[in-house]
């Protein structure tokens, strides 16, 4: 029997400065695609799909399935090879700092260093009616086995729910003398969430209150980098746990 080290030695290493998709063997570049073109089904439609992908630099396009949708559309499933590579090593991703404290540590930190529990107002703003994300972070029950902010003795919370106008959110934050404002944007169409978030920050700045609050935004299309660009202090994406947000707030408000 060959020792396992030598097996590992025989397995090809990947060059992380030049990676491409892996389907069944290193370097095959296989990509799976599904899309629809507004043309009737048939060999001509298939050829149109292939030509389009070739223009995108994809090679050996194999139309494995195509079917008409009504009379004027064709849906394709296509496999093809990608010739391009990407340098994985040079990529840097911005992440929210200070998110690693536990429930107990967060409560302790605030109790020790803050004269009062931290006050947090949260809302889904604009036309967004989807409170799943906001509730996951704020409500008692929380998300992924982690309690929401409402459960923390050291947080006082106001969950304003869905479709809250920016003005109303600011009014409430001022009224309760909040330390932080959480905004959730789940469903967005044609980037309306970006407009809405920008307006919120502008409104706050116009009232001269930007420095009074730590601003946090969350949602499936939100990243930390985008949040900073929009004038927020932190941005959390999908699968964020409430303790990560709580930890950030505690660090930012108490340590900050």
């Amino acid at each position: 029997m060959m020792p396992s080290e030598s097996i590992d030695e025989r397995i090809t290493d990947f060059d992380r400065e030049s990676i491409k998709p892996y389907g069944d063997e290193p370097g095959d570049g296989m990509i799976q695609l599904g899309f629809t073109l507004p043309v009737p089904p048939g060999p001509k439609a298939d050829e149109a799909a292939v030509r389009l992908l070739e223009k995108m630099g994809l090679e050996e396009c194999d139309v494995v399935h195509s079917r008409g949708l009504g009379d004027e559309f064709t849906f394709f499933i296509i496999y093809c090879r990608c010739g391009e590579t990407v340098n994985y090593e040079e990529i840097e991703i911005a992440t929210v700092p200070g998110t690693s404290l536990s429930y107990e540590e967060i409560n302790e930190l605030i109790a020790e260093r803050s004269p009062r529990p931290l006050r947090v107002v949260g809302a889904c703003t604009g036309s967004d009616a989807h409170t799943v994300g906001l509730d996951a972070i704020m409500n008692m029950k929380g998300y992924a086995g982690e309690y929401g902010l409402e459960r923390y003795p050291q947080f006082e919370t106001w969950n304003l729910g869905s479709q809250v106008p920016n003005e109303e959110l600011i009014r409430k934050a001022v009224e309760v003398d909040a330390d932080a404002i959480l905004i959730s944007q789940v469903v967005t169409q044609r980037d309306i969430h970006l407009k809405n978030l920008t307006e919120f920050v502008e409104l706050l700045e116009a009232e001269g209150r930007r420095d009074e609050f730590v601003l946090v935004v969350g949602g499936p299309r939100i990243g930390h980098e985008l949040a900073i660009e929009l004038g927020f202090d932190a941005g959390f994406g999908a699968d964020t746990r409430p303790d990560e947000v709580a930890s950030f707030l505690a660090n930012e408000l108490v340590e900050g």
Binding site: F35, R67, L69, G70, V132, K141, S162, Q163, V187, Q189
Partner: protein, 524 residues
């Protein structure tokens, strides 16, 4: 058919509690009307149009009456007084009012005609309108005889492009791919508009505005498909939000077949005032009842905020309440599409058994109602392949338990509003399972002491307890305590509270009695 052994006594107790709860709602709203009910009455009486800025004439009229504290007698009597005293045709009068040349409150006040005479005067236009609505209802019945709808479960899909003409294109494709029901999702936030927009619309966020013209455009497109396919395609929209009764009028006239029309949804999920919602749902449901429209209730939404494992009984309780309130608007069981959902965490061991238990329980509790079964949403992720599989399990549950209105899950649920291919894939999914496993329900039974039976017993038991507690404390207090969807609402707050108006002794709505009498005669 598989059958659970359910405790008949418990079911009876649920319905008794629902009746007590509905009595409480009646007491809560007695003696009140709303601006939106009165606008619906004006629409039924034929008031159309809008001013230069697009403010509908019915809004202008109702606001004029409200300003002069005249809404307590309703909007119908002042309209009759203005018509009778001015001698103008309706269109001429509404034109003048929308141009600001006349004021309805002023005209009515100056008229000095006895209420008895005005009521008599209203008999003709009200009778004409109800005849027109019954003609639309009869037309639906005739078309469905000639072009029978597809087999149940009906495959229900959504279009939501924001542009009614693009919606038409996608709806046509969906119908050809096997859809039985097309719902045009309403533009986000329309529920909070206190007026109904007008005309054909080509822009909207997350959906398309509900306007009478949009209703008409989609209806005629689906009727063309019906003739082509030999199958009646049902059309759905949203009878909800601050204009619930007005949208009922529009839907009744344009032959919509179903309306999302829940008694509590607006309170919980749109923070609309309780009194406003309960009054509006009563009148809008009466219109839907009269027009032969199937209402869809929204219990599935509870499980998007509350946990489907622990809160399953709240869905059952709400269904009993929705049913009883619908009965009070004269809706027969076959027009009460009670909602529920397939929302358990897919990582749960034997979760499928629990889904089967819930779906079968609902089926047996409401045997005469067309059940609306909603697909997984909460645990849908970007993994479209797993999502497609969840949707298949959802479809299999519906096939086994005999659901009626199957809102098809989309593999891209958590990602975007459905692409044209997503809809086709989900129609394939449902078509395959309904065809391939539709007969399973005649072959199987549940074990007497098995987990499915146990789960159903447990959920029904919890529902009885919850309903009897609510019957004791009242629905208003239950909503305050956040018993549904874990959302708490106060009776005096919420949007649209200022549109709730106390009636006085002279109050008159010509349609309430007219519709009720005819519906009650039919029931006998």
């Amino acid at each position: 058919m598989p059958e659970l052994k359910l405790d008949a006594e418990e079911i009876k107790r649920c319905r008794e509690a629902a009746a007590t709860i509905a009595d409480g709602v009646d007491d809560f709203i007695r003696g009140h009307t709303t601006t939106s009910v009165e606008r619906a009455v004006l629409r039924l009486l034929g008031v159309e149009g809008a001013d230069d800025e697009g403010v509908p004439t019915v809004n202008i009229m109702v606001d004029q009456l409200k300003e002069e504290d005249m809404l307590s007698e309703g909007a119908a009597l002042p309209l009759a007084a203005a018509l009778k005293s001015s001698g103008l045709e309706l269109d001429e009068l509404t034109g003048r009012i929308s141009r600001g040349e006349e004021n309805l409150a002023q005209l009515a006040r100056d008229a000095e005609i006895s209420p008895a005479e005005l009521r008599k005067f209203l008999g003709k236009p009200a009778g004409k309108e109800s005849l027109e609505l019954s003609r639309v209802r009869d037309q639906r019945n005739e078309l469905q005889e000639r072009y029978p709808p597809g087999d149940r479960p009906w495959k229900y899909v959504i279009v939501a492009t924001g542009n009614i003409y693009e919606d038409v294109r996608q709806a046509r494709i969906a119908a050809r791919e096997g859809a039985d029901i097309i719902a045009v999702i309403r533009s986000t936030a329309q529920s909070l508009l206190d007026y109904v927009p007008r005309g054909a619309t080509t822009e909207g966020y997350g959906g398309t505005y509900a306007t009478r013209e949009n209703f008409r455009i989609m209806r005629s497109a689906l009727d063309e498909e019906m003739e082509e396919l030999g199958r009646y395609i049902q059309l759905v929209n949203y009878c909800s939000g601050l204009c619930m009764p007005e949208i009922a009028v529009m839907g009744a006239r344009e032959r919509l077949d179903m309306m999302l029309n829940d008694a509590m949804y607006g309170i919980l999920f749109r923070d609309i005032n309780m009194k406003r919602t309960f009054i509006d749902q009563y009148f809008s449901r009466l219109i839907n009842a009269y027009s032969g429209i199937i209402i869809n209730t929204g219990e599935d939404n509870y499980l998007t905020t509350a946990d489907a494992l622990e809160e399953a009984h709240t869905v059952i309780a709400s269904q009993f309440i929705n049913e009883e309130l619908a009965f009070r608007s004269c809706l027969p069981p076959e027009q009460i599409g009670l909602g529920h959902a397939f929302e358990l965490d897919p990582d749960l061991e034997d979760g499928f058994l629990l889904e089967l238990a819930q779906a079968q329980l609902v089926r047996q509790l409401f045997p005469g109602s067309p059940l609306k079964y909603m697909p997984p949403t909460r645990y849908m992720t970007g993994d479209i392949f797993k999502g497609h599989l969840l949707d298949a399990m959802f479809n299999l549950t519906a096939a086994i338990t005999g659901q009626d209105i199957q809102l098809l899950g989309m593999l891209t649920e958590a990602i975007h509003t459905p692409f044209v291919q997503d809809r086709a894939l989900s129609l394939d999914n449902a078509g395959y399972i309904f065809n391939n496993a539709g007969g399973l329900k005649e072959e199987i039974d549940f074990s007497k002491n098995g987990r499915i039976q146990d789960r159903a017993d447990k959920v029904l038991g919890e529902a009885v307890d919850m309903m009897e507690e609510i019957a004791e404390e009242g629905l208003v207090s239950a909503l305050e305590k956040g018993r549904f969807a874990s959302i708490s609402r106060s009776p005096d707050e919420g949007k649209g509270a200022d549109g709730v108006i106390a009636k006085d002794d002279s109050y008159f709505n010509p349609f309430t009695t007219l519709f009720r009498e005819e519906l009650e005669d039919d029931a006998i």
